[in-house]
Symmetry: C2
Subunit: 252 residues, 2 copies
C-alpha cells in the first residue's frame, strides 16, 4: 500500500505532543527499534511505514502485520521522520494505558521523576531503570513527555519494558501510605553509608531546581551521593545521579 499527502501530514503531526495526545499514539523509528517492537506482544502497532527494500528484507517478521504495512519512498520518509538521518522504517504505536501498578510498587524498587525536562536525561533514566530491573518510573505531570520522539529514540527500547505512569507524588503517597520515599538531595545521608531497602521509591529532582518543596515534604529519607572535598561542582547530571543511586540500591 502507498500513502496519500494527507497521511504524510498526519504522520508529520505526530512530532507534536497535542497530536500524539489527540490520536493517543506515538512514533518509533529505525530498523533496530522496529524489530525490537515486533518481539513484544503487549504493544499495539497502528501502522508501519517503510522503504520497499526494508519490507522485502523483513518479509517474515512482518507476516503478522500485513494490513498495517505501507510502502513509502525515501523522500516521504524524510518528510515524516524526526531523525537527522531517517532509517528505513517509521512505526506508529498506540500509547499504552500506563496506569500505576500499586502492587508492583510494594514489591519493587521504583523511581519518581520530579520535573525532569531534558529528553536525553529522560531516555537515559529509562535505560538505567531497565538495566537495574526497576519496572515503574513514575513521572510528575511537568516532566518531559515520554512519548516525545527524542525521549523514545534515546531510550534504546527501554520504554518497551519500563512503565511510566504520570502521577503526583502526593497521590502515590496517599495510595501507599507505608511506602518509603527516598529523595536525592545535596544534604541527605551518604548512600554508601546508609542502609537502604530493596523496595521503596527514589525521588529524583529537576535538573536545575532539584526536588520541589511540596514533594520534598513528602520524602521520608534524604540521600546524597558523596562529593570529594574541594570539588567545584554544584551537581551531577540527573541521569548520572540516578544511575549511581540505582546501582547502590541494587548492590550494596
Amino acid at each position: 500500500m502507498t500513502i496519500s499527502k494527507n497521511t504524510i501530514k498526519y504522520l508529520r503531526s505526530l512530532r507534536q505532543k497535542k497530536f500524539r495526545q489527540k490520536y493517543n499514539n506515538f512514533v518509533v523509528e529505525g530498523d533496530k527499534m522496529a524489530k525490537e517492537i515486533f518481539s513484544q506482544k503487549h504493544i499495539e502497532i497502528e501502522g508501519i511505514y517503510a522503504l520497499e527494500s526494508w519490507i522485502t528484507t523483513n518479509e517474515k517478521l512482518l507476516l503478522a502485520y500485513r494490513d498495517k504495512i505501507f510502502n513509502i519512498s525515501i523522500t516521504e520518509l524524510g518528510q515524516i521522520s524526526s531523525l537527522n538521518t531517517p532509517n528505513q522504517v517509521f512505526v506508529v504505536l498506540k500509547q499504552p494505558s500506563n496506569t500505576p501498578n500499586y502492587n508492583q510498587v510494594k514489591q519493587n524498587l521504583s523511581l519518581y521523576l520530579d520535573g525532569i525536562q531534558d529528553p536525553g536525561n529522560m531516555g537515559t533514566i529509562l535505560r538505567i531503570a531497565d538495566w537495574f530491573g526497576i519496572p515503574q518510573v513514575f513521572c510528575s505531570p511537568d516532566c518531559v513527555e515520554v512519548y516525545n520522539p527524542k525521549v523514545i529514540q534515546s531510550t534504546m527500547g527501554a520504554f518497551l519494558r519500563v512503565d511510566t505512569p504520570v502521577t503526583t507524588l502526593s497521590a502515590l503517597r496517599k495510595a501507599l501510605p507505608d511506602l518509603v520515599l527516598y529523595g536525592a538531595t545535596m544534604t541527605g545521608e551518604n548512600i554508601f553509608e546508609k542502609r537502604v531497602s530493596a523496595t521503596g521509591v527514589i525521588v529524583i529532582g529537576n535538573e536545575g531546581q532539584g526536588i520541589s518543596p511540596e514533594n520534598l515534604s513528602l520524602v521520608d529519607q534524604q540521600i546524597r551521593i558523596p562529593q570529594v572535598d574541594g570539588s567545584g561542582m554544584e551537581s551531577l547530571n540527573a541521569g548520572v545521579a540516578t544511575g549511581i543511586i540505582c546501582a547502590v540500591f541494587r548492590n550494596v
Copy 2:
C-alpha cells in the same frame, strides 16, 4: 573598545576545531561560566566580549582585565555566539598545555577515554571527574575535542579543574609500567564484588564499540556494572557507566 568586522569573523571561526588549533585558544560563554573563570588564576584570558550592561554591572570583577574587554552589541553577540540563547558575555581563553602529569597519575585515580564521541557525554564525564576528585582525564586522539564549545558548556566549569591530556593508552602504559589499568566491559568482574585500588586508570570505551581491541589488550583488570537478569538493555550510557564506576571506586 568596540570590535571590527574582521574580529567578528575571527571570533566566529573559533567554532571550528581547525581555527581553535591554529590560534591555540577556545571560547567560554555566559555570565556564570565567565565569573568562574575570573576566580581561577591558572587560565589565561585573551579577550572578553560583552554587552555594555554586563561590563558595567561587573566593573570590579573586571579591573584586572581592563585592556582585554570589548563592548559588543546584542547583534554582534548573536553573530559570534554558538549558544541558542546568547548570554551577555563571550570569553576567549588560551588552551592550557595539558601535558600528562605522571606523578599525579601514580597517586590518584585517573580516567582514560577511548574514543568518546558525544560532546554531552564528554562534558558529563568531566563533571563526574570533578565531583569525585579525579584530577586527570586522559583522552585518546579520536575523542571529541574537549575545547569543542558544546563540551565546554556542558562541563559547567569542570574543565577548569580537571586536566585532559590527549595521549594513546600505550604511551601511558610505557611511561608507567606498574600502573593498574581497569577496563569497563560487559564481561568483567562485578565492581561491587571486586577489590579496587585508590589509584589506577579506569578505561572507558566508545559509546557504540566499547574499548578498542588494542587498548583492551593493555588492560590489566576488566570490570563490569552488574545488570539485572532479564534486562533488555545492551549497555548503559557512557556517562552513567563512568559515574557508577567512579562512585564505587571512591566509596566501596
